[in-house]
Amino acid sequence: MEYEAVIGLEVHAQLLTDSKLFCTCSTRFGAEPNTQTCPVCLGMPGVLPVLNKKAVEFAIRAALAMNCAIAEKSVFARKNYFYPDLPKGYQISMYERPFSTKGWLIIDAQGQKKKIGITRIHMEDDAGKLVHAGDFARAEFSYVDLNRTGVPLLEIVSEPDIRSPEEAAEYIRQLRNLLVYIGVCDGNMQEGSLRCDANVSVRPRGESRFGTRAELKNMNSFRNIQRALAYEIERQTRLCECGEAVVQETRLWDDASGKTMGMRGKEEAHDYRYFPDPDLIPIAVDRDWIEQVRKDLPELPGQKKDRFLKNYALPEYDAELLTQDKVLADYFESAIRQGAPPKWASNWIMTELLRELNAAEKSADQCPVTPEKLAGLHKLIEKGTISMKIAKSVFAEMYKTGKTAAAVVQEQGLVQLSDDSEILKMIDGALRENPKQLEQYLAGRDKLFGFFVGQIMKKSRGKANPGLVNKLLQEKLNKLKEKA
């Protein structure tokens, strides 16, 4: 029997507000432990939360970008559980009356567009961080860092519309891109700005009911999400094939072993005792405010792609790829403003630039070759100072050193050779050194033309202007043919 996976994702995105969700403490990442705290986020006796308006604005942005309906009235609820990183003994989240519901996101699934439903988007405050003294199992102490406590999060819950690990990764990629586009999240998965849990089950293909699901936690990269899901789907499929039952439970992904492991079962599941937080009044978002936010919404990926198609006459593929990542799209447009032609810049970015960036796991804004320097490289090609071929090695050097194209060309003496007499000298040399091949060429083996071009380029150490070499060599050989 063939099985299919059913996946729903729960993404937590840290909002880029300057201050926390319910107090004025800074949200900056990486400060000394417990320096960004106050009585409110420390859960001191008697303190009360006051909602950060900017966080609500960001939530409106996200809801609009994901086509969600914003509730007339939404209510914060307390999610009660004990843990040392949770000072109040409850998280302020939303439960029965979430901020927004019923949206969607379009993803590319094997070349096809697929709509993934968004069940809900709501706000909540983050917990702190535990640091264990030494190995977790044997640690004598655990330290608590509450800098992150109270940082605003958006919880974005998808419908169980996802059918494969690839689709899941694509969904996260799209979602991340969108959040970065609208400026509400930096999308940094390593620092935990974007975290993902998954609900996954399998069922015989064609079956409409859902199988028993497992909840996967602790996947902190695109790669791990894909690996964890693939592992879990395989595990559940195997159980089904043997006629064994899948148990409803929470499972942790272990990166080192490449496996998911049972953390707690259904009967150990927390009873969070949700109830409306009496310290906060319901949120009623003004329709005018929503319209204002809609008006101020930055260009979304789809809109940007359409503009790239229209303004830069790029092929569909290029426009799609460049706008997948806002930082890359910004890089591209910046290079255009510096004078690089769109198609050339697009080609260069998609091949040379992305190869280097992907290898180094860097984003375009961290690229040592700035858009201005890339445009500078193009100018040298345009003027004929260097060939396209040389340009590639110049670019590699620019990436390595951060130098301008002109500086690299200067230092390595890579200026293109376009002097007729110099090239003619090399042509003569090449013909003289290869009499056998010349004889064969004159006898009719035209294919050997390329051989001679190669020899000449080698003599010039790649610097000879290829067009000129072709032209002069052809003339020379024609003359020799006539003589013969």
Partner: protein, 487 residues
């Protein structure tokens, strides 16, 4: 008359005319504390040096003519539920025995800005859960009128200290009657303002949707002055209401002609103490004599108030008290073996009294999956019905008159081991919190055993002025408030 026995109005007049200084008043108050505090045990924390230095500062301001207001230099006591910067705040619980807040509650800040002298922190039922002040982890407070009787609760220390002239005014909090009951038991005035009238920031939470800060005073006018000082919107409390604060004292005119007063029949039930019933009815007649109009009406859902209250309050409490986990501040007891869960259990078992634990357990149960709808949600629906009862009643009248407690203060130790019996004594006071109304107690008589009886006045939300109007007219017509306990 000793300075400590006088009212805010009298003292503020004397300070103005330089007949006495704040230092004189504060010394008089501390002298009184030395005389009777051993018998009453109204305070959990006292610091005469600090009080005297604040009095000197108030005298300097009076001299310089700065910050002049009726509360400048007046010695005030604070219930130990208010966070006070640098001063221990225990909520009468072992779990916070050594807790020193790094900030002031907003109400405390407002009093500080007015230059009051802080006498000390008063005793209470642990986490404000109780009606007798016997629930304090640090020993009960005794009623100044009869030392073997309860002073009421949970703000029993604030009421007893005031009644015994160990302060000139005090602050309490009221979740189900915790200002009005002790005010009644100790024969002083006390008001629980409309929910949202006074900021709750820095007030250790018991049940957030019911808790409200309010003052206790020796007279209606003193109480009005205190409320005016602490009321108003606070950006730190989202549930405080952005409305102007009226000059409450202006409502104390003595005239009640045409004011419509309702007597809800459900609050005069057979089985209640006849002395209480008679005193309250006599009070109503007194106001009628002054020109008010009396009518009987009905609050049909009264029977459900106690049950509703004892679901909502513990539910919220179970969540509010989760933060006392031994991790960051307060008591921590390492369990055996030394793992997290055992630390939680050992700390919370040792830190909370049985009554607090009882309410946490009830609240945890009523919020749990499968029971939430049957208890918490149902209680919220009944709460709406109770609120509507009052809306209907207030279409016909301006102020409701009711008893505060079904009996005069009873003997210490008689109900502490019978929680249900104790909960039932809240029957007349919890509805006001459930409906978010303002409610006030004024003294209205004494039992044959010379134990105080109080009158409760309730009004529409944000109509504290109507209460003050009626209460002051009653006070003018009677002299119950002038009686002092003999300790």
């Amino acid at each position: 008359m000793r300075l400590c026995e006088m009212t805010i109005e009298e003292l503020s007049q004397m300070l103005k005319s330089k007949e006495c200084s704040s230092l004189d008043i504060t010394k008089s108050v501390y002298e009184r504390i030395r005389e009777v505090e051993k018998k009453v045990h109204a305070y959990l924390w006292l610091n005469e040096e600090l009080a005297l230095s604040q009095a000197r500062e108030a005298d300097r301001l009076l001299q310089a003519g700065e910050k002049l207001n009726p509360l400048l230099g007046i010695p005030v006591a604070l219930k130990d539920i208010f966070c006070t910067k640098g001063i221990p705040t225990t909520c009468a619980s072992k779990i916070l025995e050594n807790f020193v807040p790094p900030f002031d509650a907003s109400a405390v800040l407002k009093l500080k800005e007015r230059g009051v002298v802080m006498v000390g922190k008063t005793n209470m039922d642990e986490f404000a859960m109780g009606s007798t002040t016997e629930g304090s982890a640090f020993g009960p407070t005794h009623n100044p009128w009869a030392l073997d009787c309860i002073p009421g609760g949970s703000s029993g220390g604030s009421a007893a200290a005031l009644s015994a002239d160990m302060c000139v005014a005090s602050l309490g909090t009221d979740t189900g009657g915790s200002i009005r009951q002790p005010a009644s038991c100790c024969s002083v005035c006390g008001i629980k303002p409309t929910y949202g009238r006074v900021s709750r920031y820095g007030v250790i939470a018991y049940a957030s949707s019911l808790d409200q800060v309010g003052p206790l005073g020796k007279t209606v006018r003193d109480t009005a002055l205190m409320l005016e000082a602490i009321a108003g919107f606070d950006p730190h409390d989202s549930t405080s209401v952005p409305r102007d604060v009226p000059k409450y004292i202006s409502a104390c005119t003595g005239a009640v002609k045409g004011l419509k007063l309702g007597l809800p029949k459900e609050y005069f039930v057979p089985g209640m103490d006849p002395e209480v019933k008679n005193a309250v009815q006599a009070a109503a007649k007194e106001l009628e004599k002054s020109g008010a109009e009396l009518m009987e009406l009905s609050l049909p859902h009264t029977d459900y108030c106690i049950a509703t209250y004892y679901i909502i309050a513990p539910s919220e409490a179970s969540s509010n008290l989760a933060r006392y986990d031994g991790v960051r501040y307060g008591l921590r007891i390492t369990g055996a073996p030394n793992i997290l869960l055992n630390m939680y259990k050992a700390t919370r078992t040792a830190g909370f009294s049985p009554e607090v634990r009882r309410r946490i357990i009830i609240g945890t149960y009523t919020l749990s999956a499968g029971y939430y709808d049957a208890y918490y949600l149902k209680a919220q629906k009944v709460r709406t019905l109770i609120r509507r009862d009052f809306e209907e009643a207030f279409k016909k009248c301006d102020v409701l008159l009711t008893p505060v407690l079904p009996t005069p203060p009873y003997k210490l130790g008689t109900k502490i081991n019978d929680p249900l019996e104790m909960y039932l004594s809240d029957i007349f006071t919890v509805s006001c919190n459930l409906a978010g109304l303002p409610g006030m107690t004024v003294p209205c008589g004494f039992s044959k055993d010379n134990l105080p009886i109080g009158l409760q006045l309730l009004a529409r939300p944000f109509e504290e002025e109507k209460i003050f109007q009626a209460a002051y007219a009653f006070e003018q017509a009677t002299d119950w408030h002038k009686r002092k306990p003999k300790i």
